[in-house]
């Protein structure tokens, strides 16, 4: 495999080593490999977080029970009790629990302050519902709730999940675009470097032609070493990017700020695949770019 990439067949490389240009290609490939792998990791992390959040939201629902202020506390409690009774016999509902005033205050504390008098606000009573299996038939449970407590509303958090999923999709698309742009930038850089090397190596090209080398042979001779350098550089860059999550502070679930970038068992499995695939894509990209540049240069020469 190395012999193939080095453009040799049972002998030393036919094209000169590349010198500074070869080193430059490795450096650019390393930078592009880092960016592409970082974008891929970010895209995967976004998908992971959005998926987790969405799954969490899909396992819970909230019932809001509105009662007119004028009807008083008794009517409010009666409506809540009716709603809880419906939920208690609804298939797909594992548990339904009234969120008491203290818990409501805690939920609103970040916005209103811990000392706010929640009872003075026109808030609905909230019932936290844990779902099981595929959950209840939403239309059916909504109808039954309305019948038992006219001010009760079923909220399955679809309003939150939709934008979350769409946002995660956008992040994934942006990551894919980042990977594609990095590959395109690498291809352009390698093509320019290959063309420059072919021009500067006109003597080698002339010699190879004099002894009957086909253009395809010449382009292979130059493309191999470039592809090898691009693959090694991009692999090193991807390795650095894959190592990055392991150096980040581990932000846990308890903080409510999970990033999806935490280094876990998944990433340990994923990292070698990411490095290898980045190196492979970079190598093949460089191979194609060099051969395209060689084709253009040799046709003119």
């Amino acid at each position: 495999m190395r012999a193939l990439f080095a453009g040799r067949r049972g002998g030393p490389p036919i094209a000169p080593g590349g010198g500074a240009i070869g080193g430059l290609i490795a450096l650019v490939a390393a930078a592009m490999g880092f960016l592409a792998a970082a974008a891929a990791i970010a895209g995967l992390a976004a998908g992971e977080v959005a998926g987790r959040w969405s799954a969490d939201l899909a396992r819970v629902a909230t019932v809001r029970v509105w009662t007119p202020e004028a009807d008083g506390q008794g009517a409010r409690e009666a409506a809540v009790t009716a709603a809880l009774s419906v939920l208690a016999v609804t298939p797909g509902v594992a548990e339904a629990r009234l969120i008491d005033e203290a818990a409501q205050r805690a939920l609103l504390a970040p916005w209103l302050g811990a000392e706010a008098d929640v009872s003075a606000l026109p808030l609905p009573s909230l019932i936290d519902v844990r779902l099981e299996g595929a959950g209840p038939d939403v239309a059916d449970v909504s109808r039954q709730l309305s019948a038992a407590a006219p001010g009760a509303e079923w909220d399955d958090h679809g309003e939150w999940r939709g934008p979350l999923i769409r946002a995660a999709d956008r992040v994934r698309q942006a990551a894919a675009a980042g990977v594609a742009l990095a590959a395109a930038a690498l291809a352009a850089m390698v093509a320019v470097a290959a063309a420059a090397t072919l021009w500067s190596g006109a003597g080698v090209v002339r010699t190879l032609r004099m002894i009957g080398a086909e253009d395809a042979f010449i382009s292979r001779a130059f493309a191999g070493p470039f592809a090898l350098r691009a693959a090694l550089g991009a692999g090193a860059g991807a390795l650095a990017a894959a190592a990055l999550p392991f150096t980040l502070p581990q932000i846990g679930v308890e903080t409510g700020l999970e990033t999806g970038l935490a280094a876990g068992a998944d990433l340990i499995v994923l990292a070698p695949l990411l490095v290898l695939s980045t190196a492979l894509v970079a190598g093949l990209t460089a191979l194609a770019a060099t051969r395209a540049a060689a084709w253009l240069v040799l046709r003119r020469g």
């Binding site: 030393p12 010699t207 002894i211």
Partner: protein, 221 residues
């Protein structure tokens, strides 16, 4: 093997060869002579397909060069061994690796006979040397060894002794003569009279390029 039929070619509006007709038989040894700029190299370039005639025809190995597509040039050149004045050895390769190059280009495994070839040109003990470590004469002999490594039908040399001393030139010339005796067709462009004298006693003929014209089959040396 090679035939020019009323071939004319020029550069930048200047006619270099005009209405040249000549025939080189297989197994012949010819010198192409003439003053500097007379068109000696042009004759060779027309043969090794670096140039096509503006008019007339040049036939090599029985094929009209104007009808040889670019993709088939390489295959035709593999039947030739070309030695140029500046040798064109690949500097990053050793002598032996340079000599093996035609085999690699042709996709063949180099055999042990190439070491014998290197010894034959007097480089048996310089196989691992880089071109920069060789004298001008040694470089030229390495280039000659590379040119004949794949056993070509036709050997073309353009001022092969331009950069070497008289003794080295005589040695190189003796190698060309030996190759010709082995049945190879040899064509050497030179303005070096000493080189031609070194071929005395061979069946070499001289094609003189003068005023854009070349004698049809040459005159005996």
């Amino acid at each position: 093997m090679i035939e020019f039929e009323s071939a004319s070619v020029g550069y930048d509006g200047r006619v270099v060869l005009a209405d040249v007709s000549l025939t080189l038989e297989s197994g012949s040894l010819h010198f192409v002579t003439g003053r500097s700029g007379a068109g000696k190299t042009t004759v060779l370039r027309l043969i090794y397909l670096a140039l096509r005639p503006d008019s007339g025809a040049v036939r090599v190995f029985g094929r009209d060069t104007r009808e040889v597509p670019r993709r088939e040039e390489a295959a035709m050149r593999r039947r030739m061994g070309i030695v140029l004045q500046d040798c064109d050895l690949l500097d990053h390769m050793s002598v032996m690796e340079n000599i093996e190059l035609p085999h690699r280009v042709a996709g063949r495994q180099p055999g042990p006979e190439l070491k014998e070839l290197a010894a034959w040109v007097g480089l048996g003990k310089r196989l691992d040397a880089r071109p920069a470590q060789l004298s001008a004469g040694e470089r030229q002999r390495a280039a000659l060894a590379r040119a004949v490594a794949a056993s070509p039908d036709l050997i073309i040399a353009d001022e092969p002794t331009g950069n070497v001393d008289a003794e080295a030139a005589a040695r190189i010339m003796s190698l060309f003569v030996e190759l010709n005796k082995l049945g190879k067709t040899v064509l050497i462009a030179t303005h070096d009279l000493n080189l031609m004298r070194a071929a005395q006693g061979s069946r070499a003929r001289v094609l003189k390029v003068e005023g854009g014209r070349v004698s049809r089959s040459g005159t005996p040396l």
